[in-house]
């Protein structure tokens, strides 16, 4: 679907403050996968995803979308923008329309979608983010930060892109809303077969939703693979300033204390079952603590 070939991007190229934000990236994103990107602050995640819909032009290397080099001459880059939707960090800062309807319709109108179809797409998008239909006539500025975030996400999702990129979509949302939103994106991925790319600082989100994860460090891809495999490399991750899911840490500590706990516990559900198993083991009166 999206392919990076030796991509390097340098900020402030040709000046004395120039800096490689991403270096020599080779990456293949398959259609229909749920990919997570993790990495420390400043590791180049945002820079990487901004290449995927042609907002940044690689200093060196090529980016292919659906097999086509998007920076070749005469290629219409706006087509890529409709195919690959990008929800920015803090998308609520991009609003400008007088009412929610026009705000969400902005991308659709730019794409030349007929007005008759727009309405149903907007309703669908509102359902997606869990907002009521009666807000369409209010001003987008009359909402709370989290609600604005949802409106902004709706404006991208309404375009029904084949690939949707989410740059830390849940930062600053309440846990209930973020959970709901991520589940919706998982549905979008599963049921519609669309590609979802999630930039996240929450290892819990990554392990629960992603099929594959890539780990960025200082502008390079240091690891990639299934989340469960990646999180077994606790030390390497710590070295890159990253953590493993909280629950896993509990079980790793238990193992250090001498309990025969498993080292691959990532979710609350798994933790529950493991605790029951451990409890049953201790029933015989033996203590595992040395």
């Amino acid at each position: 679907m999206i392919q990076f070939h030796n991509v390097t991007y340098t900020y402030n190229f040709n000046t004395d403050t120039c800096k490689d934000a991403i270096k020599n990236i080779n990456l293949k994103i398959l259609p229909g996968e749920f990919l997570a990107i993790i990495g420390q602050t400043g590791s180049g995640k945002s820079t990487l995803v901004e290449h995927m819909n042609g907002l940044k032009k690689p200093t060196v290397g090529e980016v292919f979308v659906s097999g086509q080099d998007i920076w070749q001459k005469k290629f219409d880059i706006t087509k890529v923008r409709f195919k690959v939707g990008l929800v920015f960090q803090y998308p609520e800062h991009q609003m400008f329309e007088q009412d929610v309807f026009s705000e969400i319709a902005f991308g659709l109108r730019n794409n030349g979608i007929a007005e008759t179809k727009i309405e149903s797409l907007i309703f669908e998008a509102l359902d997606f983010v869990g907002l009521p239909h009666d807000i369409l006539n209010s001003s987008p500025f009359d909402f709370s930060g989290g609600q604005k975030r949802k409106i902004a996400i709706a404006s991208t999702i309404a375009m029904q892109p084949d690939v949707i990129i989410l740059d830390e979509p849940t930062a600053g949302l309440d846990p209930y809303s973020s959970e709901l939103l991520l589940k919706k994106f998982k549905d979008y991925n599963k049921n519609k077969g669309k590609t979802v790319i999630l930039v996240s600082h929450s290892m819990e989100e990554v392990v629960r939703f992603a099929d594959r994860v890539i780990v960025m460090h200082n502008g390079e891809i240091k690891m990639e693979g299934e989340p469960r495999k990646i999180f077994t490399k606790v030390e390497e991750l710590n070295e890159m300033g990253l953590d493993v899911p909280q629950i896993l840490k509990v079980f790793l500590e238990l193992r250090k204390l001498g309990f025969p706990a498993r080292a691959d516990i990532y979710t609350v559900e798994e933790a529950k079952q493991e605790f029951f198993r451990l409890k049953n083991l201790t029933k015989g009166g033996k203590s595992f603590v040395k």
Binding site: N12, L55, F88, H93, Q94, F96, N110, N111, F141, M159
Partner: protein, 272 residues
């Protein structure tokens, strides 16, 4: 793209010129600007350019960045030169597009261009060698007398410095919003003027909103740290005159006199 417009002119270096008191530099730049309007002879301008190059060397500011800035002004220079050259009457040298190009016209336009270049290099030297903070402190001191008219120089100074600080912040913000709208298909590179204008409005509104929010936040943050200008406020950067300032004043005074005297002597005009 917006990076090219960055206004951060200050060029940090360790030189005598950087160490001069900003008030002195401001004053000297002002005098120098006036001086440039009194000079008419090409010879003296040439002399002045040599002097400027020497001062740039003294300030350890590479001439390369000065030339870059002048190049950016070139279109404006050429347009005004182009207009002037057709308008001045006198001895015809040659005809161009049916319009007389006169000796006086050529003379006047070349003097004008050199004068503007001299002016720009002088003012830029001030910006290259004086940090915005110093500049603001100097402006504040110079505006002190305005207190009689109930104008608070501290408030003007703080407004200046906030504005200076926020220019790069706002440029980054504008670029971010531009990208966000682009991702939703806004057509900034459209060939239709109307579409293009529409696309730019989608930046202006969010930018205005975030600017006013930011201003509000800043005001609250300042107030909650008990900011108040004026009375009893001590400052981080205290301006002191040094011996160098005196030397600079004397040397400049000599220089001004020298140029003015040369300018009076018709001898140099004949040479030209």
């Amino acid at each position: 793209m917006l990076n090219n417009m960055m206004v951060g002119q200050f060029f940090a270096a360790d030189s005598i010129i950087h160490k001069l008191d900003p008030r002195i530099k401001l004053l000297l730049t002002f005098v120098y600007t006036l001086l440039m309007f009194f000079i008419e002879s090409m010879f003296i301008f040439t002399f002045n350019i040599l002097a400027i190059i020497m001062v740039y060397k003294l300030a350890r500011v590479p001439l390369k960045i000065l030339i870059k800035s002048i190049k950016r002004m070139l279109p404006i220079l050429l347009i005004s030169a182009g207009i002037n050259i057709f308008l001045i009457q006198g001895e015809t040298v040659f005809k161009f597009l049916g319009i007389n190009i006169t000796k006086q016209g050529l003379c006047m336009v070349s003097t004008m261009i050199v004068r503007i270049i001299c002016l720009i290099s002088g003012m830029l030297l001030l910006l290259y060698t004086t940090s915005p903070a110093e500049l603001v402190a100097a402006i504040e001191k110079i505006l002190k007398p305005l207190k009689i008219f109930k104008v608070s120089p501290e408030e003007i100074a703080i407004m200046f410095s906030i504005a200076l600080h926020f220019v790069p912040v706002l440029l980054l913000e504008a670029e971010r919003i531009m990208n966000a709208q682009r991702a939703r298909g806004a057509k900034f590179d459209s060939k239709h003027l109307k579409e293009k204008l529409k696309a730019y409005i989608t930046i202006v509104i969010p930018l205005l909103i975030s600017t006013s929010n930011r201003a509000n936040d800043l005001a609250i943050a300042m107030e909650s740290r008990c900011y108040h200008g004026g009375e009893n406020r001590t400052r981080f950067k205290i301006l002191h005159y040094s011996a160098y300032d005196l030397y600079a004043l004397l040397i400049s005074l000599l220089y001004v006199l020298l140029l003015l005297i040369f300018n009076k002597l018709d001898f140099f005009k004949i040479v030209m």
